[in-house]
Amino acid sequence: MPATAETADQVQSIEGEKYKYGFITEIESDMAPKGLSEDIVRFISAKKNEPEWLLDWRLKAYRRWLEMPEPKWAKVDFPPIDYQQYHYYSAPKSQEDGPQSLEDVDPELLATYEKLGIPIREQEMLAGVQNVAVDYVFDSVSVATTFKKKLEAAGVIFCPISEALERCPDLVRKYLGTVVPMADNKHSCLNSAVFTDGSFVYIPPGVKCPMELSTYFRINEQNTGQFERTLIIADKGSYVSYLEGCTAPMRDENQLHAAVVELIALDDAEIKYSTVQNWYPGDADGKGGIYNFVTKRGACRGKNSKISWTQVETGSAITWKYPSCILQGDNSVGEFYSIAITNNAQQADTGTKMIHIGKNTTSRIISKGISAGKSDQTYRGLVKISAKAEGARNYTQCDSLLIGDKCGAHTVPYIESRNKAAIVEHEATTSTISEDQLFYLRQRGIPQEAAVALVVNGFCREVLQQLPMEFAVEAQKLVGISLEGSVG
């Protein structure tokens, strides 16, 4: 058997059981009744004590959502979603009034996060690395946010979005829905109607956020959708680096995750947004797993602003996700660095949009896709240069690696240029791990699995380097685990 075929077999033999985040937390939850209706929207809004304008906004979104068609253009295949089978609100009962301090957090939850490797304790974060403030979102609510005081001293607001509605309602109202319009697409529209928690970040002018900010999303309850909404505003001259991690228990049915993330960078501000997405991918036959339908978009509103997306996508049964940048400010910069790994029956359709509007705007897209098993993966990207984007530049490098002869890798770039002084360069390759490479590594004593992991990590290196140190090591391990379970 040729080496790659053998590797493919090994890769295939990794069952969903290897998903070590697949446990369920036994905790009593306060849940909305199953299904979706105007009453449910009102129920959620009431739970959050929201102002009238937001309830109106939600209701408007709900009515729009009813009329909108499902997006059909992505290369993913799944049966129609029964939106009535989900609970649109679920919160651990013990957290009903919201924890006032870390001491109030339910011990079951503390244990859950311990088990996930990200304990809710300020002294000991993320594999021993300190100085990361974390917002913990469990099903529909935020259960804890660490390092709040230290951040407040710097003037940084980092809290659940429901709390932000009380603390700084004007900021939320000013920016919410301005980057991802309510009816942008069916999934974001649903989110607008029923979003529950998610993080809000505001960095005041001139402030470099003193630590990495992070949100950790966990879906626990059965038949629960998670619809978080994240809003990050970097005011003039500020900087923030934000990390997002996600996991879910192994369940046989498909759970729905339709998040919206909006980023706004004003003059000279920079936002670095990193995601390590490891939702439950379903089992080897494609049973269960998360439907990950996410709308992420950043607006470089100010001149010289910068938004950088880095994503490591290894989980979910279906991924539908295009973190994008709208480069409005002159000289603004957008970046998209992506590693997507699909195995077994996973399907991913992911990429980015770079919309160049301002003068001398630049964007860079580096996408590395690895397909294994029976999975299908598509890079879908748009680079659009408007007539006024004098001097705009884009560079895109998009590489796919196939492991095994039952998977698929597809590249669908759209490039639209209307400015002669703009330069766009796009390159893409598709190949497999060569027999030569594997034999060479094995001849030097490196076992086959490790050799594959080494080559794949080399293939992804350019993107891994973009991750904050704390996450890079984790991500590198995840790359190995996603493919064969052991070596990093």
């Binding site: 196939l402 002869d405 597809h410 400015n419 002669k420 766009v424 796009h426 390159e427 598709t430 190949s431």
Partner: protein
């Protein structure tokens, strides 16, 4: 809809169409009209028509070709010179006085579809629709229904045409807006060889709509070179649908030079159906004014050990728009596929636009596929360098455009044809290009 005269009432029975007495052809026409009535004209909602709208068809009322109105004198018929035979169609009708098919080598048939339908209907029945069978293509369906001209090139097993055969379509020499529907059938049997040059040109001021379909079957170990110049008039809408099937160890070389037409679109479908098959599909486009040019292709690498290569380069001035959509599909288990695609565009004006979509869809792992795409303007440093050596700006620009496109034209392996095509490129350029001669020599 502007092509109503063609599809309303009893569109087929009510017209004088070629091969009218053939029942199978009437059935094919009937099926075509039914398919077309179901789909209607393509809209931009279709992914393959995302960037092209059949704008001229909105408000022009095209009429069928009037059999009598083609007797207009013509000064020049474009040609690559030394050819084995030539067919000239003016306003969708054969002009026998300008055509010459008297000296074809043995084993080669090259004639109008109308004649072959009369002489050898069984052969046409057996071959028509054997390659072009995409039921979803509205423009193919429309041609199925309306085919009224076109030609047949048939080279028998082991036979070789040493000189090219040439077909010229001239439009625009009418009083009214007309539409014609050429249907071309090209069959190269095993180990045969041929070169075909097609010219689509426009004269006069009338609006016209050409909706052509070419079916090409390249047999095992055969070798086919297929060159096309599309220099339609500014009043023309030109839609071409090409279906090509390439057999084992066979070789196909296609090149399309698009230098004119209000709206033009060439959609090429290639199936690499036998191991060792190779396809080169290349092109150059030069547009100005508000011309729109769409090159869309789909290459299906259906079996193991096939190769394909695409190089498309274009220059867009004024408010013109270029579209390149290329898709390479590698089927499951079609291992050892090697597919390459390159699209480069120069924008000479801020009102010009390029939309490019180089796509890969791959289901086999042991493959080498790559695509690249760039857009930009003329290299300002190079421009400055030339001018600092005393070359006037206009000429310097022309030189840079020529050298940019020259790359793509290098893909034309027939030297004579390349020469003629280079000439057309030079003549497209603004002002005079004094270096044309030297440049051609060096190219």
């Amino acid at each position: 809809m502007s092509i109503l005269p063609f599809i309303e009432g009893e569109p087929i029975a009510g017209r004088q169409l070629i091969g009218q007495d053939l029942a199978w052809l009437t059935t094919r026409r009937q099926a075509g009209i039914e398919r077309f009535q179901k789909t209607g004209l393509p809209t931009q909602k279709l992914e393959s028509w995302k960037y092209t709208r059949l704008r001229p068809l909105d408000d022009t009322r095209y009429l069928p070709v009037d059999a009598g109105g083609t007797d207009i004198s013509i000064d020049t018929v474009p040609s690559v010179g030394d050819v084995a035979a030539r067919l000239v169609f003016v306003n969708g009708r054969l002009r026998a006085d300008l055509s010459d098919i008297s000296e074809l080598p043995e084993g080669v048939r090259f004639d109008t579809l109308e004649n072959v339908l009369a002489e050898d209907p069984l052969w046409v029945e057996a071959n028509m629709g054997s390659v072009a069978k995409d039921a979803d293509q509205a423009m193919l369906a429309l041609n199925d229904a309306m085919m009224d001209s076109g030609f047949v090139l048939h080279v028998q097993k082991g036979k070789a045409l040493t000189k090219p055969v040439e077909v010229v379509f001239i439009g625009g020499l009418t009083d009214q807006a007309i539409a014609y529907f050429p249907r071309n059938l090209i069959v190269l049997e095993e180990a045969s060889q041929a070169t075909l040059v097609k010219h689509h040109v426009g004269h006069g001021r009338a609006e016209y709509f050409a909706n052509s379909v070419s079916e090409i079957a390249v047999g095992d170990a055969a070798n086919f070179k297929h060159y096309k110049v599309q220099a339609e008039s500014i009043h023309a809408a030109h839609v071409a649908t090409v279906h090509t099937r390439i057999g084992r160890d066979a070789n196909y070389e296609g090149f399309g030079l698009s230098i004119g037409g209000l709206l033009s679109r060439t959609e090429t479908n290639i199936t690499l159906a036998g191991q060792g098959a190779n396809a080169g599909l290349h092109g150059a486009y030069m547009m100005r004014g508000n011309e729109h040019c769409d090159n869309t292709s789909y290459i299906d690498m259906a079996v193991p050990n096939t190769t394909c290569n695409q190089v498309f380069k274009g220059v867009l001035d004024d408010a013109s728009r270029g579209v390149f959509q290329g898709k390479i599909h590698v089927a499951r288990d079609a291992q050892k596929a090697d597919g390459r695609m390159l699209n480069k565009t120069l924008l000479l004006s801020n009102d010009a636009e390029i939309d490019s979509k180089p796509e890969l869809e791959i289901y086999a792992d042991d493959v080498q596929c790559a695509h690249g795409m760039t857009t930009g303007q003329l290299d300002t440093t190079a421009l400055f360098y030339l001018r600092s050596r005393g070359i006037p700006e206009a000429l310097a620009r022309n030189m840079l455009v020529q050298s940019f496109l020259g790359d793509a034209l290098e893909e034309i392996s027939d030297e004579n044809v390349r020469e003629v095509f280079l000439d057309r490129v030079v003549h497209w350029l603004p002002a005079h290009c004094f270096l044309a001669g030297e440049w051609k020599e060096s190219a």
